[in-house]
């Protein structure tokens, strides 16, 4: 009988065929981040391949979090 595979390993082994990889995700990162800031659902619908990549790639996910934090902070400064 097989034992349950730990979540982290399962996540590591899971590859999404929609995943656009780093170059394309970074090319669209500014557009995607603004869309997430205003309408997260629409962002995932319009750019499923970017969403898939950011969920799987640590460094691009970190860059996205940073960019989102930067634009969110700027919006607060403006108001």
């Amino acid at each position: 009988m097989t034992k349950p595979i730990p979540q982290q390993l399962r996540h590591f082994l899971q590859t999404d065929p929609d995943d656009v990889a780093c170059d394309e995700a970074i090319r669209l990162l500014h557009v995607y981040a603004e869309l997430v800031a205003s309408d997260p659902g629409e962002a995932a619908t319009r750019y499923p391949g970017v969403a898939a990549h950011l969920a799987a790639c640590g460094p691009c996910g970190e860059d996205f979090d940073g960019l989102l934090a930067a634009i969110t902070a700027s919006e607060h400064d403006d108001s």
Binding site: P6, L9, R10, A21, D23, H30, E34, P59, G66, A69
Partner: protein, 203 residues
Amino acid sequence: MDSESAHWIAALQDSGIGHDDAVGRLHEMLLRIARSELNRRRGSHGLAGPELDDLAYQAAADAVVSITAKLEDFRGESRFTTWAYKFAILEVSSKLGRHYWTRHPTTSLDAEDWERLPDRFGLRPEEYAGQRDLVCAIRDAVDGSLTVKQRAIFVALVVRGIPLDTLVAQTGSTRNAIYKMMFDARRKLRAALVAGGYLEEDG
């Protein structure tokens, strides 16, 4: 394009004093972004004080150079500032990647510490005892299914826990190339574990 973005572009394309002024403001803005990004990531790099400030300064300066060289690429798909922030954040990542070796000078280049593998996948020692077969199966799959290059990337990223951006700096490769190689490796390992009965086909 929104008016603020158009204003940035016009000022940066200006051939007179307006250009220098805009470059100065851009640098100031990106320095603020690089600093807050380094602060946001402080748990992972251990930089503080002048060292942190120095890295923020370099990241902002390099981002300004890239932005002024690529102004024509900006199509107004986002605010100019969002597009510009992206360059600063990517520079922070790249510089932190390079900085890794100064923080881990004793890390040997060739050491393969496979003992760490269970921990990398979130297996606690008490669980590991019951999952020894699984850990061996992964190691067999790494040795048996991956190409030499894929195996080297797996060992660096997963076994040794070297950050991807550090590997980029060290090998002169790109994040995209390494990610894709790892993507294929992950698929192969998954297939090997399914074949070995450790994982369901769709699980």
